[in-house]
Symmetry: D3
Subunit: 256 residues, 6 copies
């Protein structure tokens, strides 16, 4: 079933005037800061995440002498990324459950497109720091971190730390959120919609259109297989567009 | 498409001799310990999880005067649940990312079947402690925690802390893992299979057959929409059987 | 003086109908879980502790190149082992004083019967997790951990990691609590008695009848040397019976 | 003695071509993010710090019923603000000494220009997060935080949470670093100079030219009173210019 | 059996020339510092512990409205109290097991002589900080803390916070270590002996000669009931002398 | 301008009767405890700090193979050093900001007089534990730590761990506080003055009269360059006297 058909005749009004299958404006700025091997600011509507990629020779101890590389991620929110200030996790002395969960998600998604053998015993650390949060911070982090990762690999190639960027990258990856609001499936939820969604799903997909990660949560109202399919169609459309934005950003001459 | 058809002609051999769409033996023991309002030992093959439900009057501060209840969960592994001993998180001084992620998953799934208004300002804490781990500990925790939750609600009814168990429980919930191993989708993976799975998915479903939570991860090989559908069919079959086991266990006279 | 004489003519009524010098029923289940080198469930009345022994080649850094082995223990309570749920120490981010104190006690008692030279540079970690607490959890832990230790040593022998179980084990060890309640010394206190005891003592003894550890506390009423002697006689009787239960359990064919 | 005279005839070459008494280019962007009551990006050369001001009604418990307000600050570096990635303090589980020291410095400087009585029982939290570090991050934080503070006060005035911005603000404040490199006192040190400085001083001054904080450190070579005076003259010049930049930024119509 | 007889004919040489049943020189300095309600420096040989008693109106939350007071203790070692510097527990971020164990022991011993009803809803916190450690730091802490406690009670009486010192104090308490070295029971072990002791026992006794706490440990060689009795006789002698030293110190006019 | 002139005709009355430019009585006791390589008790009025110096062969990992030594410091307050008991940082599980700030200050000051090359790959750890706090604890710590450092160097020389004390020590160092109270600059503030000071400054100086560290804070009222000069003159006078006290103490035959 086509999303378009499904919505025919409806006049859904989203707070920001978008169609139900429309992404928020995406803007990807490379070389946002100077020193990291990859440094990207991604803006999805009002959500802004700074994603840096740090390339280091060598891997963590448990991975040594495996001939394999490692990719890992850390996610964090600045205290005033949100309407109410949230206390710093450094001050509280521990990383919270939500932060842990998202950091692990980002790491898995990026590892999903990296050939660890081709990377060799090198490590890439992705840091995603949310400057402003308006929904979809974890999916924006994945989409932005991919671009930072590519830049870091180009840097590594130029430093002869890896042989080829193409062999390390098995595919591209992006992610987007979808959800059901008042019975209507919608693409790319800002905070105001996200907080009303009965069902909420984050979908990470490769450039070739396969799934790397699906996380659907229906704390407020379970969803059927049919609804799931609608949501996945929306997510597929959204990810295709995000991947175009990634490609456009990467097409510009790397300045690093 | 039928799972049966799909496998026709194949001779998949699983390490424990099961068919690809066959659950491990499930055993649910109620009143496993004496004092908790609900106390369940669930065994799924060699995986054994002790699930207790603690019913307390009152809710956390942020929920006060809302008229709504709260359900939360904590998951933990005993040090020698695994082949190699893992250090205690209490000794390390912090809860790890995996533990956080699973605790949150269990909490969301159980909240998904509870009517917080009918629960009133009461809290139920679910503790899932893994005595032995052989894959599927998070899904076994959800399945077992549901039974403990029901027992705790019956206790609360008997103590006149809630009016009706039926009104609080919107549905039942169970969860199971599925995954793709060497290209074959399979149900209910023990550790040996789980560690080889290219794609791994945990699916929590209600008694009425809807999804409460889908978490699919494909760090090692992305999966297509078609594969996803096969996995969800397997999960549906598995959850139906787990829900029968829950119902059978609950059918026995409550001894509490 | 004989305990029997001492009590002649008295009609002490304990809440569970036991005589003042009578142990609660003891049940020791070996191979309670499958993977640890030693895995024991010990039940003393309603107190239930799961004790596992982990045998590892090598010793902590500070012990390296000493030619000596090491034995250590960690004790912990599951959150609903008790009538009121206790917060997890992992969530609180630190190990409490009581837990520390008991872990250290168990470690000392078990080290007291191990010849570190015969053990060689190997380590045994004893984990005592209380599934249900009704008084005497630390003494039950010691008694159960000894059986798990023996099983782990037999496993180590079978793997040729040690030369002889007999040379490593200098003696057996068990422990029991005694206390004075309303002026009457009693053996093996459940929670209800323990909380009323004026004097409380934990006594660990070897199979040959010597003391390994005596911890007597009289926060509520000091005790005289005469009372101490009565308590030690009760403890001696109790430990003799516990050691018989250990021997019986170990007499069964090891299944590991 | 005039700085100009002092340098006559010398041909000091700074890595970035500046004169010894010349500030790096300063850029202050207000409303850098949307939600905070004050949100400023300050750039001093390559150093970039995001400074937000959070205005909340009410004060910490220890300050209650005093009739006085409170101003506090927290400083932090993003992991890749620096050439080498630094581990997150949230992950390490504690705030480091340097972070503590700088947070406290910023708080004191801003409190130095606020009339706590006029502020009333309200709190302003200043968060200074370094996006890119090239020396002088603590002084840039102070200079930027002042602008964010002013914006937050204007917001508070518009919300009738304070009566008058002017009464709360006793003065303006800015800060700059000075140091002695190879015997020559210099203004506003980037990282490369800072790391070679024998003496290093951070000077916070009010708009009326008085000192709020002087922190001079001479771990590598003590300095004389004469040198101190030269450094303070340089700092006075630098702060005068920074205060002009603050005033210029604040002169633009507040958009909040 | 008399200690004296036991040793007849022997020529035990202790490193410091003492007889086996001889205490090290004890010196108790009251008002060691000025501000605490009780402040004592106790020196037992080279072991020096500063013990302060803090009297506060009110009790911890869990004790409120019980009409009962509370006494608690904290023990700590300065980093260079020992031959090798030990890291600070504040820097390590957690209190170690040994510290926890000793703090709890001191608290129990002091509570053992305090009538909580007579104390009323007031709290006394005892801080025992070891300036120099040469064995017996925990027993010196108990002995010294008692004197600080008495001083704090006199202060509280003078402030009319309690009615009578005598009613609060049920008895006095002191503690001493004893141990078996090369088969010989000895009193008051300095570090050099303590580290060689096969059996080690700390004994806290009241002024009336009863036991408040017995902690005997025989990690290295179990001990018989006969040996236990010898050790308790030595401890009784030692405690009697320590209590005389306490009384002498307290006899001097309180200067506080 | 002379301090004397400035005060002419005034009759400032300080709570303890001192002149505005008068130090509190200083007493420096060496070999305060027996085991550390340097152990000093410094008393400045009622402020008493125990300073120990620990000399260890080898340096922290990040300093290895540099040929350079390292000097570091830790500051801490005993709980009842102050009028109100402060909770232990070990119990709270983290080092506070103030403690961090002061520890770092002491370390920098002492490093400022040590030639790291002459020290060789050895480390000196200075521990400053405040037994009683009456203002100026950080400056007393610096002054006392210097003496402990010298003793530790003499010990190191005697053990042939360094070649010459003179080459390692580039100069001496002491520190003192100054402040402005009710408009009058004063030397060496006790707590009662410190808490009223509008401006507060800690000044560490070398024996040759240069500055090593200046920390001036004017949270309550900014100060002018003229006031700064007056304060620095007072500090110079105070430090000269403190250095005489250090020299006198060191002149006595080292007993270590």
């Amino acid at each position: 079933m086509e999303i378009k058909d499904m919505l025919e005749g409806q006049t859904i009004i989203r707070p920001d005037g978008r169609a139900v299958d429309e992404l928020r404006p995406v803007k990807i700025t490379r070389s946002f800061t100077d020193v990291p091997e990859g440094s990207v600011l991604i803006e999805c509507g009002n959500t802004r995440v700074m994603c840096t990629a740090t390339f280091t020779s060598g891997v963590p101890r448990w991975r040594k002498d495996s001939g394999l590389g490692w990719v890992t991620a850390e996610y964090s929110m600045l205290p005033r990324a949100t309407a109410e200030r949230t206390d710093r996790e450094s001050v509280r002395g521990k990383v919270g459950g939500r932060t842990h969960e998202i950091s692990r998600l980002i790491g898995r998604c990026l590892r999903g497109v990296v050939d660890m053998k081709a990377l060799g015993e090198n490590q890439i650390q992705l840091d995603c720091d949310v400057l402003q949060a308006d929904g979809g911070t974890r999916t924006a982090s994945i989409t932005g971190a991919y671009v930072a990762l590519v830049d870091a690999l180009h840097w590594a190639k130029s430093q002869r730390k890896i042989r080829s960027v193409e062999r390390v990258l098995k595919d591209s990856v992006s992610a987007v959120s979808v959800g059901v609001i008042n019975g209507t499936p919608m693409l790319d939820l800002p905070y105001i919609e996200d907080s009303q969604a009965m069902t909420d799903m984050n979908v990470a997909m490769t450039g070739s259109g396969d799934f790397i990660e699906i996380q659907g949560t229906a704390e407020h109202r379970p969803f059927s297989h049919a609804e799931l399919n609608e949501l996945l169609d929306l997510a597929t459309k959204g990810n295709r567009e995000l991947q175009r934005a990634q490609a456009d950003a990467l097409a510009e001459l790397a300045e690093h």
